[in-house]
Symmetry: D5
Subunit: 149 residues, 10 copies
């Protein structure tokens, strides 16, 4: 009996290790970016029936698990409010150190409002650099203004 999406995520991770799959292969198979595809497989996005069928086959999921992939999940991928994993903590640290800066610069350019985390996309690439390669992340989110009413 599967009663939440996290169980499906665990099944996917188990199968991924066993079958030594790569996220980019999964992304190719369903024809979406590797960023969206990974987030979806990790329980953060909702798949269409066609996408879920492909994912189900790649990871040997049963029908019940495949059905759960098509249900909007309870999102949030961190076990604690402040993440302990060093890689993810660095992202949290950037929000902490640069949060007020990003707020100031978006307001200076656009006025009061936010960058959407829903109408949003992300792209992660290797940036070659003789002093050591870099992670290059591009985030693009629609600006949503506060309006008077």
């Amino acid at each position: 009996m599967i009663s939440n999406r996290e169980q499906v995520t665990a099944m996917i991770l188990t199968a991924k290790v066993r079958k030594a799959l790569k996220w980019s292969q999964v992304a190719d198979a369903i024809g979406q970016s590797k960023e969206w595809t990974t987030a979806a497989c990790l329980g953060q996005m909702t798949l269409t029936k066609a996408q879920a069928d492909v994912v189900g086959e790649l990871f040997d999921l049963n029908d019940e698990a495949t059905a759960w992939l098509q249900i909007a999940p309870y999102k949030g991928s961190l076990p604690t409010a402040v993440p302990t994993d060093p890689l993810i903590y660095r992202l949290y640290e950037l929000v902490n150190v640069y949060g007020s800066t990003i707020k100031e610069l978006i307001h200076e350019e656009f006025g009061d409002g936010i960058m959407s985390a829903i109408d949003f996309s992300m792209d992660i690439q290797r940036e070659e650099d003789p002093k050591g390669d870099r992670v290059h992340m591009v985030m693009s989110g629609k600006f949503l203004p506060y309006k008077t009413y």
Copy 2:
């Protein structure tokens, strides 16, 4: 008597409102990006004497405040671990929803390690879009691998 950098940040914010300065003007004056400059003025970076003198003049700071700008500050710009401000929360939400995804993809590309939040730069631009302009953020951080020893 100034005993911490936060007091200097408050003086800068007060002067910025009174003199209606823009962060981009400050950045031009000290010859750095608007992202680094804003972070520095908000108490997250250390300025050189030359930079501090320019900032001090722009914001009418006294000598004591200008000296504090040249001291490495206790960093972190958020009043609570989970930020309440909607704009900054969206960044936190991205870390929460996409954190495990970013971790998986960086590891898939680079192996175990992190994206540095120190050897790091950021660029924020308006991305024009007929369906509504977007915030375009580029982050670049050096990949640092874990090694055996």
Copy 3:
């Protein structure tokens, strides 16, 4: 010296008690709804220069305070993550008890996505009822769908 919006909110609250003003009067004076107007005066919204001038005059604010009203504030009006005030706690309790319900019903109607808290408006009215009058709150927020990319 004013270094954050909370100081201006405190000045407004002080003047409001002293002058016995009503929020509906302030709303009429700036020509916006009482909901937006109150939120703005309590430090959650950004005012235009014209609006700020009216508010400044009503509450006897000085120029510095009036300038701050036109700056996008750090938002969030609660002193603790779980509010202690009984009226505000009831709202939190509704999110806690009905949160999963609202999520299910919005997803059933719209698919995966959220109700915007930015492209949002609210209206609070007295609902007369022989068994005891009721508070009638209407909230309207744009649905924002998650999309694949």
Copy 4:
């Protein structure tokens, strides 16, 4: 052995996915609003014997599970005090940003007291809009005044 209502909620969610039921169908079957019905199925409300029998049949529950539906549950549907799911967080954000505003306006209209979260009903509808459909939520709660004694 079932020892709490959360286990019954998990059974309902599992069956709902497997049988591809809609909350509105369940609501029709027991003759209540979709809002109350969903909250009840998610473990927040107590059902009568008749309602529990219908729900039990729809979700293939055994007698023990159906009995638990008739017991007043320990309420609260969120795994953390500040919800991580973006849809539910937006509701929390509204309480945070507008909480003090709602408090002020209810007190201005009714005097000191609260909007009941018990003598309460809610209605969620799609609000068609050429600029993008909206979520329209109506909440109605009895005003309960504080009295002297």
Copy 5:
């Protein structure tokens, strides 16, 4: 300049020590119970103009403070979620140890619903006892049932 009720509470406590007043004297002066009166003076209840004038005179408050007594306050009298003071902690402990018991017994008698903390009164008396006098607290709150809709 007074910008919140807590400042008035501090003024009352200061004056109470200086003038060696008793809460029961204050209660007599405004003609209410000592429980409601004390809660009101400690910033948890709203006073009428007549009551506020009496309290203002007893504690030598200025007009601004007396005006604040007539504004519905942000309630909650504890500095931390779990109180450290031994007397108040014992009350918290009772909620912790007996909370599930009280819930069970109210539901057994009344069905699903709550005891109101708003339509509520309290009486505290000395209960003489040869083995040591006791604190006798009576709490009476209206039962509010959850209903279907």
Copy 6:
């Protein structure tokens, strides 16, 4: 294998639903008040052998479970420091809103000390009222004075 009292509480709750027992019946069977009896069955009190045998029979407990009922349990019946269940939260709210009041009045009557939560009893009754029946709770705890030494 039973390794803590919480497992016994779960067994009791399961049996109570299955056998549709009432707490008052259990109380009659062991000859104690319904308040103490319910607290004991919910894992907050220690039973004598005789009491445990009666409870064990009523709820079909095995010998190991019956033995655990006679062991002083780790007490505390709430899953979180601030309870989410609306009925129990109202009790917490009373401590929060009236905590400082109760402290002041007990000190005014008795001097410095506490109301014992151990040498304590409680009685919960329905209080009939034409405007809606009320929950009537009486708490009686021995006053314990702080003394110098």
Copy 7:
């Protein structure tokens, strides 16, 4: 204007440093143990008029401060729930490591109940030891049994 006991504690600490007083001298002056006396001066106990007068004179307190010493204070002397100071943390660690042990042994000896923290006294002495002197703490608290009712 003094509005809480913590201000008086600060005044005492300031004077103690300035006048280089020892707690044992204060204890001798008021004729109580050094443990009770120190706790009282640090804002955890209530003094009689006679005791307060002596303390007031020793620490050069004004009448208002001396009056506050006679009011039952809001107790609790730690700034955080888990203390950061190494000496006080060791005490917390003892509760953490030995807490379940002490509970088991008191229950084995006395049955269910607690050691009172109110009807309590403490004595701290130097214990000479050739391998390094030791801190010798004796705590004595009345056992209070839970009883059925």
Copy 8:
């Protein structure tokens, strides 16, 4: 499969209830104080092979469990930072109320340093008293001074 010491503690507690053993009997069997023995059985101390064999026999532990008793455990016996159990909370309250006092008196007697919680022993006895027997706890910890370097 046993993967941590807590599982062994649960096995011991289960057997202790089933076999109605007393901690003092266990202490006699291994020839240590009842305080150290109980702490060891509750997973806070490391046993020698000889001690573990005795404990293993008394509680019918298998070889794997007996081996775990000889591994230094991850210590800490409380499920939450602030304990909810009334007996253990009283100890926490003593740290909270008397923590600063103990700190002052140890520093006054010994200078800056701590009482060791490692080079430490404890003794708990019944103290007969006509007004009600008392718990008598003696704690002895080596004083460790901070030194300059």
Copy 9:
């Protein structure tokens, strides 16, 4: 089915107790330092195939577990933000007491930046001392400077 690295860590700890292995033996077997090897076995580092095969054989792991050792794990080895185990707490205490000192001295020597926790190695040795042997820990991390951009 293994769905996370923590399960593999539990398997390793279980086998280590059963087979009475030492970390230094494991380190020798894979030809790395005991510090890195232990951290890797405890789920904090990623092993190569060759290393994982050796570890798998030493601890009798199945293929699935051995595969998980080669996946970058979610790091962080403490169950709570502030560790309760006395040995690990002492490390936390050092960060708390000396954190600001280390920050000052690194900045004084190197300017603004950090000591890397990734490009990092550690060595723990016994330091013989007639007054009692000491733990000697050497930490070496690359200095990473903040730069302007």
Copy 10:
């Protein structure tokens, strides 16, 4: 009026910026290591009269501040349990990632016990390295064994 050590730390930090002193100069002046000296000036250690006089002169402290330097302070230099400053967080991360490793290795070498954080010294040096200089930290703490009693 100075009522705690933190005020003296603030005075020292203010003077240090104004006079552009280095910690190593202060250490030389009082003849102690730069590590102990900095910790002492930052409010974590107690100074002798001679040391305090030197520090007082260097930082232009008045007599009251100099007296406070000789009082054992309430220790702990971080504003939050999990530090936000990137440099200090890296130390916390090391405790989190390597905490269980250090515990295992110390126990393997010494048996059950701890590394003292009191009988402790620390040395921080620049380690020259062609791939980038490193921070070299040596910590030495006495091993304290748990013993039976």
